[in-house]
Amino acid sequence: MKLPNHQNNRFEKAAEIITWVIIILVLIFISFLPSSIVNKDSVYILAGAIIAFALFYYYVIYKLMTRTKRLYLKNIADIIFIGILIHLTKDFGVYFFALYFLPIVAAALYLELISALLIATVAAAFIALEIILQSQGLLPGGSEFYLGAWQIGIILVITLFCRFLALQLKSERIAKEEQLAKVEALKDEAKLEKEFITLTSHQLNTPLSIIRGYSSMLECGDLGKTALNQKEAITEIYKNSVSMANLVAELLNISHIQSQTFRLQTERTQIGDLIEKVYKNFQKAAEQKKLDFKYIKPTKQLPEIYLDKIEIEEVLKNLIENAIIYTSKGKVSIFAEQKDNNIVVKIQDTGVGIPAQDKEKIFQPFFRGQSILEIRKRGTGLGLYICKLLVEKHHGKIWAQSSPAGSTFAFSLPIA
């Protein structure tokens, strides 16, 4: 139960005062007991039990209220009270033992059971040492006042030490719990993000699949003959539905790569084998355009590196496909070499080239080149952006170079 702050303060003050008043009254009461009762051992247990109960009562009330920052004043006030209590008693040695409960319970006020027991053990060790020193007569003797001051000093040290250690442990525990809570909150956020991407994909693809499906059937005559003027319209509907489906797929791919849940599935790979695989897939397309299409294998075996095969294959596929599309005649060549601590892969073509001012912008999404009017009918304009995202996920770099005779697209991946 949490009370409003100002009520908490008053309530807390009242509870604390009541608790200490109970302790003082108990000890005053004990001091008036006849010595025949006082000399019995059971008095120690009684005094200790009553004090422990009073402090327990205080602890329960304290737990129900908002904590205030009166730590230093509270500690000093507690010690003063302890000093007053000791001086109220006539015989230090008889009642003193009961007051040793105070530091232990003081620590318990701030901690849960295990930590409180640990603190209690430390306090008990201090107490045991004091008792041993006293029994061996190693503590300085002298007047009652001097002895009382010495006892107060010991209790001051024990209580302060236990209390501050308890607070330190508690604040560390709270910090750890807050950290865990933050991590859990981030995980929930990431999960929601992933679900949103998945559902968006589903909702966009549902009508698209019907538009694409039926328009393809109309186009190839599955649903009967179409008039010439209808055929052109149907072809456009079909082509645009294919473009839209590709755009949706690539946008969702980008969302997926940029999401918190995206993880590369890396494994040790010989990149030369991956290049060879993609090269073979494009040989037919290059032949159809009569291009001189080659993979120039490195003279020395390249070291294996950790990479996500599926993602790097996509990068290679995008770059090689672009090179073939944008080269009407001449050659497309693929190179791979080790340069310092990186593997560098280059795809060189004798195609249209890239204007110098576009070399950086070309990796931006939907960038269309110098003239906005030169819109390519095919493609989404996202392929190079996706390549950049994937290479950078591998801590690599991607860049483009241009020359009068075409262009070179290259990327590097770190070896270590």
Partner: protein, 123 residues
């Protein structure tokens, strides 16, 4: 060849059903997952095409049940859905799906070619 399509979207059933029927494939359809399971057990199709997002019972649960029943556990089940591969592909594979196809990428002609390339196609 007999193909069972389980999908809650009537338009999808009609679209793919028309294309496959034109290629002389016997097409059975069900708009409900539970009824689809019963149909599969009774008719024993050569292939099942299964959507995932459906009311009452979703496709992955249908797949699980198909793989438990003796009458249907050996029928290859291909998921035909608009959920992206990365969302449910792994789970589908674990449950025993033979393949995963995204509808927006599988026009009726492409689906027909896929069905015709399957090993038990006796056309």
């Amino acid at each position: 060849m007999k193909v069972l399509i389980i999908d809650d979207e009537e338009t999808i059933l009609k679209m793919y059903g028309t294309k496959l029927s034109m290629a002389k494939i016997e097409v059975l359809t069900s708009e409900d997952g539970q009824k689809g399971i019963e149909m599969a057990a009774k008719e024993k199709p050569d292939v099942i095409l299964l959507d995932i997002i459906m009311p009452n019972i979703n496709g992955l649960d249908v797949l699980k049940m198909l793989k438990i029943r003796d009458e249907t556990k050996n029928i290859p089940v291909y998921l035909l859905t608009n959920l992206p591969q990365e969302a449910s592909g792994e789970k589908a594979k674990e449950l025993g799906a033979a393949g995963y196809m995204v509808k927006a990428e599988f026009e009726p002609q492409k689906l027909l070619e896929k069905i015709q390339s399957l090993p038990n196609n006796d056309q």
